[in-house]
Point group: C2
Chain length 339, copies 2
């Protein structure tokens, strides 16, 4: 049975909520190693093994020094369990920075990968889009973006079940000659590397508006632009919902209108809820990492664990490697060894 290492610290609702999520996931046939303050996590059993690791670095401002300075922190122990083969994937909550540092240190970069990236399936209505990188690499090179395309496509096919995903390169215009100098070069490289690929279809540049238009399954960008775009999407959709709710509360007429609409709106509100997508995916390491949003309840945490299991069972890491190899896009040992 697939074993997932889960860090119980970092969730806004506390370690007990993470334990509840782990037990929900275990009921679906996954084994969980749960690292956190044992006195808040209940008994081992039913597919969940509790490992006492009370130290949390989830609120530390500098994740790099926190991870290095706290080898007994729950997230570090969980990442080590994965790195040492006691678990097949890592799930943690809230602190993407700590997950990234602990993952790179203990799970290590996959062979031939330049940089790990964070992917997230964007909470917009309609067909979802997986966006990467959303924050791991504020500065990138052309060859990183090429790899992100294959990493994102492997995730979309293995975990989301989208065959031969359509991949777009985020830019400020759809024409190949639009973009920063780096993006223009990445476009050319992607055309060359993806020609005839079984793993994905490169559809060219996609604008910010393309993220909601269903024209791509995966959108590739640097971690600076991706982070800005993701936070804009979340903020605008949440602001609009709150504004509409406020309007519906402002008058009797509005209240009745809101009540009549609420049944129809519910699936839509759920669709754009970040919890529905199970969190952010840390791609490019030897094993998969999933970072649930700090605000998740037990349902979201269980979903993150089951998504991690699916990534393992569908061999996401192996698929990524084979696709990059077939495209000639793996980093060779003698190239950029210092980076």
């Amino acid at each position: 049975m697939t074993v997932i290492a889960v860090d119980a610290n970092g969730a806004d609702l506390g370690p007990a909520e993470v334990a509840a999520g782990a037990r929900l996931a275990a009921q679906q046939g996954v084994e969980v190693l749960l690292f956190g303050p044992a006195r808040e996590l209940g008994e081992s059993g039913g597919g969940v093994e509790i490992i006492d690791a009370p130290r949390s670095i989830a609120k530390e401002l500098n994740p790099a020094s926190a991870v290095r300075g706290a080898p007994d922190a729950s997230i570090v122990l969980a990442a080590r369990a994965v790195g040492e083969g006691r678990a097949a994937a890592l799930v943690c909550n809230g602190s993407t920075g700590a997950a990234l540092v602990a993952g790179q240190l203990h799970m290590r970069r996959a062979t031939g990968i330049y940089r790990p990236a964070l992917a997230i399936t964007v909470p917009v209505p309609g067909r979802p889009v997986t966006l990467l990188d959303v924050g791991a690499n504020p500065d990138v090179r052309v060859e990183y973006l090429v790899q992100f395309a294959f990493m994102g496509a492997a995730y979309a096919s293995a975990v989301l079940g989208i065959e031969r995903p359509r991949v777009g390169l985020l830019s400020n215009g759809i024409e190949p000659e639009r973009g920063s100098q780096l993006v223009i070069e990445a476009h050319e490289a992607l055309v060359a590397r993806t020609a005839g690929s079984d793993a994905l279809v490169f559809v060219g540049n996609v604008e910010g508006s393309g993220l909601t238009e269903g024209v791509v399954d995966v959108a590739v960008t640097d971690g600076f632009t991706g982070n800005v775009a993701l936070k804009v999407i979340e903020a605008v959709s949440q602001t609009m919902l709150v504004t509409i709710r406020d309007i519906a509360q402002a008058s009797t007429r509005g209240k009745l209108g809101g009540l009549l609409l609420s049944g129809g709106l519910r699936p839509f509100v759920e669709e754009i809820d970040p919890e529905g997508q199970g969190g952010a995916y840390l791609l490019g390491l030897r094993q998969l990492g999933v970072v649930a949003h700090g605000s998740f309840t037990r349902q979201g945490i269980a979903r993150a664990i089951l998504r991690a299991r699916r990534g393992v069972d569908e061999d996401l890491v192996g698929r990524t490697h084979r696709a990059l190899e077939a495209a000639g896009a793996l980093r060779r040992a003698n190239v950029g060894a210092a980076s």
Copy 2:
């Protein structure tokens, strides 16, 4: 009386709609030189002077070669009228690229400015944010971003009436050490250049989510990230409105609910309509340019013309220059003369 040169080509609704917008603006005491196909524009009079210029380059794919190859195009003639002092500002429709090229060629860059930038006031609910650059410069340098901060602040104070605007630097985290290498350096430069400024308050980094939170009046970024962010904002807000409308149409219950809510929703829908903000502002030239959205009706076009007038009357260009001079952020003649 302030004279504004208006290009009648490029609007989705055609030159006659632009002429109608020009006449609406003229009723508010502005004089318009209207360049376009005279047979579609009606008679001169009532503050609107028609200049026959039937050639349109609004649909050309390469604005740079189109502007250079068509000296008789309406947008080129309108920009020349401004450059030669026959009008004080340029208003055109739809083609930002052509406006940028024609503006740089005939209105010329203002003294001490590295690069013109496109600014837009973002259509999100609540207190509006002016975002720049939204597409003129996909690649930037630190000193461009510093100038954009002062250019955006001068616009916000002169045209929007916001005294000493709060300016933020768009980044993937609020801490000064977060961002691409360029953004980290721009943060340092902005702290140094804005200390004690009367023109603006630099509040540090702002995330994508900050654009809807009312924490800044102006957000500064490169033209690549700004374009992606702007198109994401427009797409998410429009997609959500359409989705909510569809839900309200899907059942009798929903229809009644939508009807009851619609009165309360109307001001909100108007607030996030791109037409409400009057278009994009071309800053950093010797005179002001305004690019109305191609989809605007006569009301939006009139608003763009009146905003241009306000920019002229409030001496936006002079304010920008004085603020940059006080901050020591003007480009010196012997620095980067080739760029």
